[in-house]
Symmetry: C2
């Protein structure tokens, strides 16, 4: 980032072409089919330019995911049950898209985490990517936290709510199913999750 401020302004059009070519390759061929050289060719950008800014295909892949994820908006209708289910559904859709990236049409229901798992490993492999990736999730968590705070402030949610634990539980359950158990995620599951987290597990009658 600081490099572009010191030198000549970065060519936004180059960024756009590179990220578009990477997105196309990632979604059609998956992580294993992504190569920096092929992105350079498709985006018509010199390889040296590409490697200077995105040194590995891990860097390219994470740049795409960051952009896709930062595009997800949270809507606040004043009904926390609906707003949370809507947002979790968006997160699930993003996960499902990456999970299925590069799979042939007949294997869309494969329970493997696919490219989602490769992206998580890519972030763990490079310190600089890890920092960018955690910053991206911090932005998302901050958005969700403000939604929950507003619902708490208007009396929908309890005043002593553990905002961080609550959002970890909701988003975490989606990632757990995609990355670990292989179970499906989508609208129906998002609604179950929200219902479960809002109502709590304790018996309403209190301890027996």
């Amino acid at each position: 980032m600081s490099e572009s401020r010191r030198g000549r302004p970065r060519d936004a059009d180059v960024d756009e072409r590179v990220l578009r070519a990477t997105t196309d390759l990632l979604l059609t061929r998956g992580y294993a089919g992504l190569s920096v050289d092929e992105v350079a060719e498709r985006a018509q950008v010199a390889k040296t330019t590409l490697y200077r800014r995105w040194p590995t295909k891990d860097h390219l892949a994470l740049a795409v995911v960051t952009r896709l994820q930062d595009d997800d908006e949270i809507t606040d209708t004043g009904d926390i049950r609906r707003d949370l289910a809507d947002y979790l559904e968006k997160i699930a859709a993003g996960l499902n898209r990456m999970r299925a990236a590069g799979r042939p049409a007949g294997q869309q229901d494969d329970p493997s985490a696919g490219t989602v798992a490769e992206l998580v490993a890519a972030a763990a492999r490079h310190d600089d990517i890890g920092r960018l990736e955690r910053a991206m999730y911090a932005r998302r968590n901050a958005l969700a936290r403000r939604l929950l705070e507003r619902a708490r402030d208007r009396g929908e949610l309890r005043p002593d709510l553990d905002l961080e634990a609550l959002f970890d539980q909701l988003a975490g359950a989606l990632y757990y199913r995609v990355l670990i158990t292989g179970d499906p995620v989508g609208r129906a599951y998002a609604e179950r999750l929200v219902a479960s987290a809002l109502a709590g597990a304790l018996s309403r009658e209190g301890p027996p």
Copy 2:
């Protein structure tokens, strides 16, 4: 598995030596430092034998994790708050061990998911490992489900509890922090999670 039933009985001692050597290498050097050849040498097992049963280092690594995880027991003291916190603490300890695997002493607090992420990617890369890994998590989820069912049946938890969503939320939050946000997990966080999931997020006074 079926192969060993058809041919001569598998040498349990070989398995033991191989898994012990793999565990040592994985914990001291991390995923990048694990190699099938070095495991063969340390375990004093012929490479052909090793490759026949564990074709890649991904297979070896997952075998180790499966064994470690299957050793985690759930205790049922009749207090669901304590039993869940105890079990989540065990899961967190396993994740922290793999997260720190291969790191120099000074970098134990690195927020990267480390070897946990590589193991998740390994399972996504091979269909056979993916199946074994999902079977391992299904065993763990079944144990947790029985614990929750007993607490429900004795009246601690609500009768209409969504058992699957509840455990996804609890275990999922731990994996989310380790794999995605880089936040720490341990006893204190396990207790916060359980408190949050048991109490629920809705205001006690009901909708305003």
